[in-house]
Symmetry: C2
Subunit: 253 residues, 2 copies
DNA sequence: CCGAGCGATTAACACACGTTATAGACGTGC
DNA sequence: GCACGTCTATAACGTGTGTTAATCGCTCGG
């Protein structure tokens, strides 16, 4: 029963991942949910590999991803790129909005995405009118920071294979909470070059590490389909603990 | 005139770095300043290398550093440690507080520190009663996140020497805004082993990189006294841009 | 149907960085 | 004044990862 209960383990993508996410952190009132629904109307479809915001931009409002995967990244003068976060459906950026702030990094789609822009005005209304929303948004900011710290640990102290395993674990858990995983895998739209820029590795070495994970029978990766053949092993390799995502009882088994 | 004007370039440590920091982000009302002063009373002196919060703790409130330098860090099972942030006077942690949240990392002093604990109750009063404080706190959270992203770029894509140079640049600018730098240097309480755990390097290689910076005449480091002999060069090596700190016109020259 | 381009793969080689070990310098407590 | 621990420094050696480059397979546009 529990396995098929759509409220605990959705069979497909959930309709309003953002509302579900916030509601998971802080129980929202019905009015708050309605307001959020209203605010996330008018999402646009945007193709893959498109910049949503660039370094130096002064966004009027924030961004909400409702479908697809996007990323935050920074560029160096020599052309090197560091991806600092992945945004999955339900994730936002710059909702903890502050006027007159210049972007110090950029945001781009990885796969095609559905993106809603939320203006500063509606954001202020949301926060002012719905304390539960304000509290939940503060929680998302905390989780964002905790995730950045975990990535720092990942890049700073783990080996190449461990880093990639950790990323795969994190994405599995995060996508699972929005109903975007199959039982044993998910769609991974990043290229090996993206993974390299995420993990602080060269794309050649990412390939080597993937081969190693494959040879050990831990994963299978064909095209954009990642299958996790041995979840326990993957978690062990990555030394993955989901506590930093602060999912509470929504955490995956 | 401008150089000696204590409001723009304080000659010594400023008395309430936290208030100055928030006021720099969002102009605070006099009542807000008074309330913040009240809240930060009763700071305790704590020795070096003492844990303030441990992973798994459920802090009742937040922490404010008024003197000394502390750090956030995470441990791995194999004993490896990753330092994810340094807290200088005026910095806080977990003020964007959320009830029933378990720490997913730890906080410890590096040098001896003066530390104020701010309870959830006074924090709620501050935020509810002073919108400017709430807004400024949101800004600090944004800067924290931007700093984490910059660190990710640092560790993920820069060489050993560049990473260390970047850290030295960042600390110089941050300490300067709270009046804790000399004209050409500051006190660096971290050991080389700390720097290693910060930059994702071995302590041996940190030493090698420091020697290299010394040989080039960029820095001098005797004991805990860091002297920057060639600031322009150091910035170039680190490819340092202070924009992610969002200091506006408080940024160093 | 063909060429162009991008992504994945693999090989060969180079080097930045890690590991282990030892010794010296410094402070600190007894 | 001595023993001790901690931090810095340096050497020798090993290796994980980067670099360059070539090949192969797709997909997509014409």
């Amino acid at each position: 029963m529990a396995l098929t209960d759509p409220t605990t383990r959705p069979a497909g993508p959930i309709v309003h991942p953002f509302i579900a996410k916030l509601d998971g952190f802080v129980a929202l009132t019905e009015e708050a949910k309605a307001a959020l629904k209203q605010a996330s109307l008018g999402a646009h479809l945007i193709g893959p590999r498109i910049d949503l915001l660039r370094e130096g931009d002064m966004p009027e409002g924030g961004i909400l991803i409702t479908e697809g995967i996007a990323c935050r990244y920074k560029h160096r003068a020599n052309g090197a790129r560091q991806i600092t976060a992945y945004l999955v459906p339900g994730d936002t950026c710059d909702l903890e909005f502050h006027p007159f702030r210049e972007m110090d990094d950029a945001i781009a789609t990885v796969s095609a995405c559905r993106v809603a822009r939320i203006s500063a005005a509606t954001l202020n209304e949301l926060v002012a009118g719905h304390p539960t929303v304000a509290q939940a948004l503060r929680m998302t900011a905390l989780v964002d920071k905790a995730t950045l710290r975990e990535w720092l640990l990942n890049i700073g102290s783990r080996s190449a294979m461990e880093r990639i395993a950790h990323l795969f674990c994190e994405l599995f858990v995060r996508l699972q909470t929005v109903g975007l995983t199959a039982e044993d895998g998910y769609v991974l739209p990043m290229t090996q070059s993206d993974l390299a820029d995420t993990a602080g590795l060269s794309s050649v070495h990412v390939n080597r590490s993937l081969q190693s994970l494959r040879r050990q029978g831990v994963i299978d990766l064909k095209g954009k389909n990642l299958t996790i053949l041995d979840w326990a092993r993957l978690k062990t390799i990555a030394e993955f603990k989901a506590n930093y995502l602060h999912l509470g009882d929504r955490a995956a088994a």
